[in-house]
């Protein structure tokens, strides 16, 4: 068994991500939040597990569904919330919104919504580590949909050729917007895509935080020993809409997923699953679980209240930051 410290840390991170995501629902429906938001509810175990094995010198790049990635890499919760409200105090100073987050201090080097667009950037970070003989790793987060883009394959080949310290993490939630994976892939075999490039690759249960954590630990070790990249496919499911809490509420009707399937996955909720484990192994009791939740919830509410009152960027500064001055 992992140490209690690690187990509690993983649990707190998953909860922080979940409660943060849920806190956006009402403001989205009230139109207090207007930027498009791709909620990560149901996929928290992946970020929590991967983030926990990285240090601040390791880096991470991510995609449109990035709140969990950002938080797991040490991005400040307060600055995430402020960013989503479009405030100058946000992590991207109100210029990026939910789909463009960054936190360089802790190695979160950016999330961006062009599908697959950041994969090769992560390759570049890994390359920089290699050139400068640094023992760090880069992590690239992307979805199952991203495996349709050629740049992933170019990146896998190059990373493997140059033995770069890079972990490809594919979050396979079985859908890319309105299309089920077998409508976009001839085979449901994402993890095998890395094999021809000689990259060790694995398919794991993305809703089992311990499985993710342990696989990530090994991957980091492998990368840091100079052997090259690793590919991890995490099977998971988003419990909310593609964009917004519920695609149908938003009137776009892109959620064509069968109700039965959604219900079945709700039973495999990674947080409920992990809570059971923690209770069974006496890591936390029910009261302690409630306390952790309340503490995080309070912080989140506080940050919403502060963010709402904060200043928007000044319009005279519209063009500030196009270039570094």
């Amino acid at each position: 068994m992992q140490s209690k410290i690690i187990l509690k840390k993983l649990y707190r991170k998953m909860l922080q991500i979940r409660l943060c995501e849920e806190s956006f629902i009402i403001p989205i429906l009230n139109k207090e939040i207007r930027c498009p938001i791709h909620l990560y509810v149901g996929e928290e175990a992946i970020s929590a597990g991967i983030g926990a094995v990285l240090n601040n010198k390791d880096v991470m790049f991510s995609n449109h569904r990035s709140h969990g990635h950002y938080l797991s890499k040490g991005g400040e919760l307060k600055e995430l919330i402020a960013e989503i409200y479009g405030k100058e105090t946000g992590c991207s100073r109100g210029r990026g919104g939910s789909m463009h987050l960054i936190y360089p201090k802790t190695g979160f080097l950016g999330s961006a919504p062009i599908v697959s667009g950041t994969i090769s950037l992560a390759v570049g970070s890994a390359l920089s580590f290699k050139i400068r003989n640094k023992k760090n790793v880069a992590v690239s987060f992307f979805g199952d949909g991203a495996t349709g883009e050629g740049v992933l394959f170019e990146s896998m080949n190059f990373a493997s050729l140059k033995k770069l310290p890079l972990i490809f993490v594919c979050e396979n939630n079985l859908y890319a917007t309105h299309l089920q994976i077998l409508e976009t892939h001839a085979k449901d075999n994402i993890w095998e895509m890395a094999k021809p490039f000689g990259i060790p690759s694995f398919r794991i249960d993305g809703n089992n935080v311990l499985e993710v954590f342990e696989k990530a630990q090994k991957a980091v070790k492998y990368c840091k020993s100079g052997k090259g990249p690793v590919f991890i496919e995490c099977i998971t499911y988003r419990l909310m809409g593609h964009v917004g809490p519920d695609d149908n509420i938003q009137g776009n009707h892109t959620d064509i997923r069968p109700k039965k399937e959604i219900e079945a996955w709700k039973k495999r909720d990674p947080i409920l699953k992990f809570e059971k484990y923690l209770l069974k192994n006496n890591v936390l009791n029910k009261k302690e679980i409630e306390d952790v939740k309340n503490k995080i919830q309070k912080k989140i509410e506080e940050y919403h209240n502060i963010s709402i009152k904060e200043e928007y960027p000044l319009t005279k500064n519209l063009e500030k930051y196009v270039f570094k001055k």
Binding site: C35, G86, R95, H100, S116, H178, T254
Partner: protein, 331 residues
């Protein structure tokens, strides 16, 4: 046209009708691209197409813009009339090679032995705090390329007629529409008709100033002109409709009368299509001009997300009104 054979149609449904009619009319026409099954991507422009023409000719795709666009080009080289749709022109950046290196050059570099009847349809979809990668208007990029024609309709009538012309054209045509126009309605003929590629149109006649608008800004220019009329300012509004090749003759005819020109385009100022218009007009129409040509474009800045910044960033009829007043009072 008699109203018996036309009815009110929205811009997006006018596109839809063009697709239906051309697929019916010509069995070599097919549509391929991301989201043709989903209104989240393409609004109602693709309604009913799969049901009628099957998934064989209406193909929703993996997220593979480069390969899918290349496939559309290759099919066009093999006897099809291809339409490749990109639900956001931002995503089309992955497809620059098949569009620019391949399709645009193919006819010339093989001495005209073959042509490439492909429509590359890219949708501008912006606003709503979507930010830098989901907001771009990149027509200038394509208008720079010799072997491409680029059309940008601003009305339902033109949306249908230019889609039909684009499909019928034997050359690669980049068709760029704007989600901000999708709900505009007007009378649209039921029959198949073409709007000529390379021809602008006068939307409103006037004497004091010419406003040449592109796509969304052409519709804003009409609004501005109507408002200015209340203040006894008479503006002539030109909708360029095609941005490559440009209908410079039409602009010249207009400034012969007005002597003043404002060009407006909801795209970045530097290197824009409007810059090409200005260059040609000053060269060929210098003697008609009573004042320097003005432009109203977006600042050279990526799209921000924050609400107030976004409001500051985008342009509309108010910016045109202010510019016209300034231009006229200065002279």
């Amino acid at each position: 046209m008699s109203s018996k054979n036309s009815r009110k149609l929205s811009y997006s449904l006018a596109i839809n009708e063009a697709l239906h009619q051309m697929m019916e009319f010509d069995s070599s026409v097919f549509l391929i691209g991301q989201g043709v099954k989903s209104p989240w991507y393409v609004g109602n422009t693709c309604n009913g197409l799969i049901e009628k023409y099957s998934e064989k000719r209406v193909i929703d795709t993996p997220i593979s813009e480069n390969a899918i666009t290349g496939a559309a080009v290759g099919a066009a080289l093999s006897g099809m009339r291809s339409i490749a749709v990109h639900p956001r022109i931002d995503f089309m950046m992955y497809a620059l090679d098949p569009i620019i290196n391949q399709a645009a050059n193919w006819s010339y570099m093989f001495g005209g032995k073959v042509s490439v009847p492909v429509v590359i349809w890219g949708i501008i979809n912006r606003g709503g705090e979507q930010g830098a990668q989901h907001s771009q208007a990149l027509q200038a990029l394509f208008s720079h390329i010799p072997g491409l024609k680029v059309v940008m309709p601003s009305t339902p009538y033109d949306a249908k007629g230019l889609m039909i012309s684009a499909i019928k054209d034997d050359n690669p045509v980049v068709y760029i529409d704007d989600r901000w126009l999708y709900k505009i309605e007007e009378m649209v003929p039921e029959k198949i008709y073409s709007v000529p590629i390379g021809k602008g149109v006068i939307r409103k006649r006037g004497n004091d100033v010419t406003i040449a608008g592109i796509s969304y800004m052409a519709s804003e220019a009409v609004k501005a002109a109507n408002e200015l009329e209340k203040h006894n300012i008479s503006s002539e509004v030109i909708d360029m409709r095609t941005v490559k090749p440009l209908d410079i003759d039409l602009v010249l005819q207009s400034i012969k009368k007005t002597g003043r020109l404002i060009v407006t385009e909801a795209a970045w100022l530097t290197g824009s299509v409007s810059a090409s218009i200005v260059a040609e007009v000053q060269n060929r129409g210098f003697k008609y001009l009573k004042a320097p040509i003005e432009r109203i474009c977006l600042p050279d800045c990526p799209a921000p997300t924050s609400g107030p910044l976004e409001k500051e960033y985008y342009i509309n009829s108010n910016d045109i009104i202010l510019k016209v007043k300034k231009l006229l009072y200065k002279n």
